[in-house]
Symmetry: C2
Subunit: 474 residues, 2 copies
């Protein structure tokens, strides 16, 4: 029952310790890798369930592509290999022999998927082709941090092919909007969406769209990306189809992905000094009942009523559990389930049962209320929804406080470096000005393509072409 | 619309072609690997759903361990490295550098999991520890065959630790029985369960239990295994706990796994000359409606009624779909969905609708019956259950015909080699006699530990200690 490091003054250590204390993950004996423990995996599974449904509802089908990709595939698209070369893990030997051609553990699967697309796509009738895969990928990580940056991570990667550029762009933006919905309405994390600058694009893409969130410490986290690949990869992989006019043409491609980083985003967006705070819609356990008793007779009775409540809540669609461990005291259980961020705790003792009530405590605000036993399954669904919205609102209020509209880097640079936060400013679109953020450990997180509030570029005297968000980032 | 190779005279080619024709999988550009296409993945997902529920209902939790394992881990258990060394894929370079220690792409995860267990298990209170992971694994394959033997394959691997040998054995046999239930009651595949001979055990295990099925061609397929690891690995990984008496002790371990090979088992157990035949309980689509029409007006009306039927069937818990593709003729659709093994096809035309009926055709027997439209959702669930049982019975009858109780290898060896089939015989338990099967391309598939019908060993003059199943295998 050790206390977590101070979340305000020592956020990085708080982040690491809460992951161990809530048993989300553990360090693995391979550089930059983690073991995702059952509770961490359960959160990821909830996210996967929501996202998988979105992916299927928008007409995509899941498939599985090999984890090993010939190195020559990665090299075929020039920007792609340049971007990924430093992060590759390479298999040189297999089956007791040196391989004729090295294989890489996939850092992403565009090249493998496009090789197969080239076999499958023959005519416009085969388009659109909309495939997704849930997979592990590997990008050798120099500064690992559990969930946020790990050498191996887990994600879905969508890959689609279309007849026209318009359709591909529509797909790119549709999947971005599905991600934003996931982040805001399930993870309760407000995001800023926009296009990446050319220097931050996916290697080989024509345009990359991102959705960025801001953690408790004011640093930005790229939550996921959606890429308009256009025809680059199609040309590299000789992927052609006969169009409606009977001519051979290259299809327009997209890809988009979101990762186990989303688990890290939940931790670092909502946590507090007592541990995790999970948004109800993705909490693997939404309600935990802690039974309180002294005698064995009381125990039997309280357990029985608790199980009835669990059954009723489950019938109402609530993920509820009773903590029947009889080696732990109630206080230790409160501590444990607070650390794990369970949205609602029900305290249930013999006197409560006599009075036909239970005490329901909210993890978010800590406030408690007494509710009649036969009202629990009526009231709790609404209480969970309220918490869900409160969490989103609280995060939005946090953003409002750290959001600065600023003119010139010379003025806001030091503040950005020292206090982090969200800096909306103007940019001339020159990469040289973008580079000026580096000494302040900042970067352009995204272009706000429809926003032109700023008159001058933050870095030079040229007019601003577009507003951007500058920030420190993970 | 090409015909499949003859299933009776040319089973291996039939098997390969049906996989392409039903779009289950495609060859990948990496030796021994396949791409699992959406329809193949959908079947695997149905199997996963059933098996994952069984795993959770028996008290196991899912976690994720790294795909890369230090080579030194694999080497720590002597039999383990001896068994797996020839099949390893090895990462020697990562992040632009040669690694100090090579990493292997996991062939199985005992060593990684046990390293972590040694950190997590301190006291008898931490036991039993019951973990499962769904993962990709890699064993370099010399003679690949889609789903049955691939270099990369997909599976779940359960890993548990217990206080006593009895508890570990109980777990080993419990999970074997869950697998048998999956095979027989969901995949409709009868299996023979038993213990593996010492030479066929999992490298490092004390005992391996298997469930074996027999394919259409009379060859055995190992469907999955459950291992009593006992204390071997615990000792190699210095995994100790304080027992109830306050002493330090090694826990008793188990592991058990089933793979994408199960998809291959379904194909090779139930298929026929027209393609796949899927057992209803794991068919991703259980009912396909093929609308029949000539005019656009008819099309609109038939589609509308078809969608109503789909909605009603879905409400009754049936996975139903209407094939609304208007580029294909009904005949081509019949062919397509037969190839994909959909259990029931509904043919629906304007005249049927006028008469308030539809024609329902069974994939298994091909028989058709006319059913009133408002009775479809009442009758179809029962029809699917009947097909499920018929498929199991049909497979059992096939086994009965190929099951021979035989005395001496000198007599049945040639027959085993030339006709495959199931050969129940007696064994003295001497490995030298087991070796005598090799020239006949046979092996001992499992020991029938409770069966002692045979008096003499098949290979020598010694008394038989136990009955065994000898067969050719995949």
């Amino acid at each position: 029952m050790s206390k977590l490091p101070d979340i305000t003054t020592n956020f990085p250590e708080w982040y690491q310790e809460v992951i161990y204390a809530a048993e989300l993950a553990d360090q693995a004996p391979v550089r930059g890798c983690i073991v995702i423990r059952p509770y961490g995996n359960a959160i990821w599974d909830e996210i996967k369930t929501v996202l998988d449904k979105k992916i299927k509802d928008t007409g995509h089908e899941n498939a599985i592509f090999p984890v090993l990709i010939p190195l020559s595939f990665i090299e075929r698209e020039a920007e792609h290999i340049e971007g990924f070369a430093p992060e590759l893990a390479i298999v040189t030997h297999a089956g007791g022999k040196k391989l004729e051609e090295p294989l890489v553990v996939r850092p992403t699967s565009e090249t493998m998927v496009h090789h197969m697309f080239a076999k499958w796509i023959k005519s416009y009738r085969d388009l659109p082709l909309k495939i997704n895969q849930w997979a592990n990928v590997m990008r050798w990580e120099k500064r690992p941090r559990a969930f946020l940056r790990t050498s191996e991570f887990f994600w879905q990667e969508g890959h689609t092919a279309h007849e026209t550029q318009e359709q591909a762009l529509e797909e790119t933006l549709l999947m971005l909007s599905e991600y934003v919905d996931l982040a805001e309405n399930y993870l309760a994390i407000p995001v800023i969406q926009g296009r990446k600058s050319a220097s931050e694009q996916f290697p080989g893409a024509q345009a990359t769209y991102t959705f960025e969130a801001f953690m408790i410490d004011g640093k930005a986290l790229q939550m996921g990306t959606s890429h308009l690949l256009s025809q680059n990869f199609a040309k590299s992989f000789d992927m052609k189809f006969q169009n409606k006019e009977g001519q051979m043409a290259y299809p327009y491609l997209t890809s988009w992905g979101a990762t186990t980083r989303l688990v890290g985003a939940i931790i670092a967006s909502h946590g507090d000094q007592n541990g995790l705070v999970l948004p109800p819609r993705i909490a693997p356990i939404q309600v935990i009942i802690v039974p309180i008793y002294k005698t064995e007779e009381q125990q039997a009775h309280v357990f029985m009523i608790a199980q009835e409540i669990v059954a009723q809540l489950k019938k109402a669609g609530i993920r509820a559990q009773c903590d029947t461990n009889d080696q732990m005291k109630p206080g230790a259980k409160f501590f444990k389930w607070e650390m794990r961020g369970i949205p609602l705790r029900i305290e249930l003792g013999p006197r409560d049962i006599e009075n036909n009530v239970a005490l329901v405590a909210s993890r978010l605000g800590g406030d408690k209320q007494t509710i009649a036993l036969d009202q629990l399954h009526h009231q709790i669904p609404g209480m969970l929804e309220t918490i869900q919205h409160q969490m989103f609102d609280r995060a939005q209020q946090r953003y409002a406080k750290m959001w600065h509209k600023v003119d010139k880097l010379a003025i806001f640079g030091k503040q950005l470096e020292e206090q982090a936060g969200i800096y909306q400013t103007g940019w001339c679109k020159d990469a040289a000005c973008e580079q000026l953020l580096k000494p302040y450990t900042g970067s352009i997180r995204c272009l706000l393509e429809n926003s032109h509030e700023m008159k001058e570029c933050f870095g030079c005297d040229m007019p601003a072409v577009v507003d951007v968000i500058a920030a420190k980032s993970y």
